[in-house]
């Protein structure tokens, strides 16, 4: 990739990013559907005592828990049970970044790479959603709710780390890593050339 091509690549990424953000914003509820399914699957397998139901409402995934609301500031479902709405977009905004990078690279099989990239991101996005839910019930909703979860001190620390990692690192780093892995040949070719 010569210097001019690299500058052109960066400009193309910006242009595609604007388009991809627009599409993602309006399609985010549809794109979140598999995340809701994965979140429900994980909740059934790993958190059956804590989660009664997982529902999708547009861009939000609602966890209806078996925990009782300890104060009026916590959102409740029927029966005074704690429910938690998670905005999926906070964890999926890396998808337009990945789409922009794939489309700007103009490598073969762009459509296939977009689909693979979308599928690869899903578990990491689900991680973010579930970690935020766990952080809410373990810390955010206060000691009245946290005491019902039965989490130990080290489990709360692990949840806090998983939430921070899922919110601050994974949404943007995973798309970049996936793109680099998909374009290894481009990168190797790139590394062989010198800028000057």
């Amino acid at each position: 990739m010569p210097s001019g091509s690299f500058a052109r690549f960066v400009l193309l990424v910006f242009a595609w990013l604007a388009c991809a953000l627009f599409v993602w914003w309006f399609a985010s509820a549809l794109l979140a559907w598999p995340i809701a399914l994965l979140a429900e699957l994980v909740s059934r397998l790993a958190l059956p005592d804590l989660v009664q139901a997982v529902e999708q409402h547009g861009d939000k995934i609602t966890f209806v828990t078996s925990l009782h609301a300890a104060n009026a500031t916590v959102a409740t479902a029927a029966g005074g049970l704690v429910s938690d709405d998670i905005d999926v977009r906070h964890f999926t905004f890396g998808l337009p970044l990945l789409a922009a990078l794939i489309l700007a690279a103009r490598a073969p099989h762009r459509g296939r790479n977009l689909l693979i990239g979308y599928a690869v991101l899903l578990p990491f996005q689900t991680w973010g959603v579930i970690a935020e839910f766990l952080e809410d019930i373990a810390v955010g909703f206060g000691p009245g709710v946290a005491s019902q979860t039965g989490f130990s001190a080290w489990q709360r620390e692990a949840i806090a780390f998983a939430y921070q990692f899922g919110a601050l690192i994974l949404p943007t780093v995973v798309p970049a890593v996936v793109w680099v892995l998909m374009h290894r040949r481009l990168l190797e070719d790139f590394a062989r050339r010198r800028a000057v």
Partner: protein, 168 residues
């Protein structure tokens, strides 16, 4: 490439874990975030003298609007990703240190642009501020990290195996 990615993931997780420790927060993250607010205020004061920095908060004295620079907006995580990517990639220590020095300046420089732009976007339209804050700038900062890293990779000398053979 596999070795690079494994090292990248390990370094990134270790550095991020280190960042979250109370020690790192007290001695590095909080002082850096306060410095970032002070630098941003210093730049903005060149054309808007009504701006003040209190700790990690950037505030307009004229209308009271303020932004607080929180985790994720201080550029520390983006810097961690860059540091992990540069350290994990095979290169001499001299080139790694040069890449880190220039790269960190590039990432933090754009982050100052992010802070200042969000400060004014928030005063203009809060919905636009939220959109730019939560989604657009997050993607742009990571794009900055990726571009800086790719440019650094580009400056590295060719691997020995790729050099043309020399007759003995």
């Amino acid at each position: 490439m596999v070795r690079f990615f494994l090292w990248f993931l390990v370094l990134q997780a270790a550095l991020f874990g280190l960042e979250l420790t109370p020690w790192a927060q007290q001695w590095f993250v909080v002082p850096w975030t306060n410095t970032l607010a002070a630098i941003s205020a210093g730049i903005v004061k060149l054309f808007d003298p009504q701006v003040l920095a209190h700790g990690k908060v950037l505030k307009s004295a004229s209308n009271g609007f303020a932004v607080s620079i929180e985790a994720g907006c201080n550029g520390v995580e983006a810097t961690i990703v860059l540091v992990a990517a540069v350290l994990a990639f095979p290169a001499s220590w001299r080139r790694k240190l040069a890449g880190l020095a220039i790269g960190i300046v590039a990432v933090q420089g754009l982050n100052i642009v992010r802070v200042i732009s969000l400060f004014y976007l928030g005063q203009w339209n809060f919905s636009v501020f939220e959109w730019a804050h939560l989604y657009v700038w997050q993607a742009l900062i990571m794009l900055d990290v990726l571009v800086v890293w790719l440019l650094w990779v580009r400056t590295l000398p060719r691997p020995e195996a790729d050099l043309p053979a020399v007759a003995a």
